[in-house]
Amino acid sequence: MVDHLPALQVVVPLMSAPVIVLLRRPAIAWLVATAACFAAFAIAVTLALTVAESGTVSYAIGSWEPPWGIEYRVDALSAFMLVLVAGTAALVMPYARRSVAAEVPEHQAYLFYAMYCLCVAGLLGMTITGDVFNVFVFLEISSLSTYVLIALGRGRRALLAALQYLIVGTIGATFYVIGIGLLYLVTGSLNFVDIAVQLEGVTEKRPVLAALAFITVGLGLKLALFPLHQWLPNAYAYAPSVVTTFLAATATKVSVYVLVRFYFLVFAPLQALEGVPVGAVLVALSAAAILAMSLVAVFQPDLKRMFAYSSVAQIGYITLGLGVANEAALTGSLAHLVNHGVTKCALFLLVGGIVVRGGDTSFASLAGLGRRMPWTSFGIVIAGLSLIGVPATAGFTSKWYLIAGAVEQGSWWIVALLVAGSLIAVAYVWRFVEVAYLAPAPAGAAVHEPPWSMRIPQAVAVALCVVLGLFTAFNVGYARRAVDLLLGGSQ
């Protein structure tokens, strides 16, 4: 049983989806999905502890030995991501019951939970697999279920946002397939580790370079790397709150993780790619993302949309660290995967609470929210501080490492950029403070917080924003171990 945990990590949520479709009743569907997500979380934690104790776990699917068979590989990096994905999935589920009941028609609720489980299975699969084509299959499982989840949002704009994402997402996934196809033609292998070994002897530069370009653009579309982010704001703004929360915390992060694997474990050690300015391109795009998207966020008329644009900017911080690519910057990047995941999870959970009680998240209707929903507003301010990167919050630790990495490289303009990005974040978080606390509440407004089943996950997420800033053993500790793995591979 314990030996098969890597397979069960994916199989449990995957198989619960058809079970949910057969059971149909919303309450039971919710129960099965919750059980599956908590089971996945327990498995992820167990695997992470095993990896911390005894090193990389390799699991051959169907006992076909890698590199011929499909390998599931849990190392310091993927264990870290598994805990983030499964943890978010489990944290969101108790919250989902009331939120979904308020936002999704009752006869579609079971489909919602089935798709949610498929999406979780897809993202966990992308994280755990050691096979590049398997990544594509799981990418499509998670993407197709995501399109359905977004289309379940209220109003017809959700349909358009879902179709827009479907087209862009499919182009991205197909670019990725072209990239790995080229790698397969060069190496004859589909296993991450084996491709890296086979590529060492390759002197032909062109197909490898083309593969790098296709994989970068393909995954760039999925992770909303500026300027390939156009699908994200609409998808986040019109999807049901639970979906926005889950996607913001995990989906883009898993694509970043796959990109990290390719860059540092497959491409970085290659002699053939010396002199190719991958890092410089990433840094330039990330810098544009941080500045442009933070500024766009300031001028959004809607709270949910504002945080969606801020997500694109925050992804910029993560890719910035990948571009700088020294030890401190990478630690910052990987820690920011978790820190930003937790922060955005908290923010969108709180925004979802406003939707349940008021239904509208435009700034005009948030006036005096501090009096109507004091705890929710307080939570948004705390998570907002973490978004800015105020000391003693999660956002601070990762930005600290990013700045340290930039200083080490001598790129002072990156330091200035990081500070500028944080200052713009102050501006958009302040917009919320101004509307919620300084604008007068409409007459007759009473205190009306969301139900307890939603407040507890909200409180946990907000608390994590602070706890991860004070006790950095989980995020920075794991990030360090993952960085050792990434940079160790290149020497």
């Binding site: 594509f136 197709l144 399109y147 109003g155 179709l163 479907l166 499919t170 182009i171 197909t174």
Partner: protein, 121 residues
């Protein structure tokens, strides 16, 4: 001309991508997307075939075999492509019901005029 299979694949790839981006009709966009995906199937399958080789069944009279793995991979990719197209068309049907149009410019114009966010489902 040894690379003509690639020329065909890349022509289809670019044509499909162009249709997806340039056309305003949502169904045509999906057709373009489908052509784009299909071109990748060719990109995988063409190199797997060796001229004069047989299917990989071990028999004494044959010495060269084609690589079967790309076929298997593409079988999976075809399934993914079908699912994507089906889901895309289903979304277009829903969009047609909600907006009364499948032309992108008309749909966007409707959303600009009034706040139709909760008008219908």
């Amino acid at each position: 001309m040894g690379h003509y299979a690639y020329f065909v694949a890349i022509f289809l790839m670019v044509a499909g991508l162009y249709i997806t981006i340039a056309r305003g009709n949502l169904v045509k966009k999906l057709v373009g997307l489908s052509i784009f995906q299909t071109s990748v199937y060719l990109l995988y399958i063409a190199p797997g075939k060796l001229i004069g080789a047989t299917a990989p069944i071990v028999a004494p009279q044959f010495t060269t075999y084609s690589n079967p793995l790309p076929h298997v991979l593409i079988l999976t990719a075809i399934v993914v492509g079908v699912a994507t197209l089906a889901l895309g068309l289903a979304l277009v049907v829903r969009i047609r019901e909600a907006y009364g149009s499948i032309e992108e410019d008309q749909i966007l114009a409707q959303d600009q005029d009034g706040d139709g966010a909760d008008a219908s489902r």
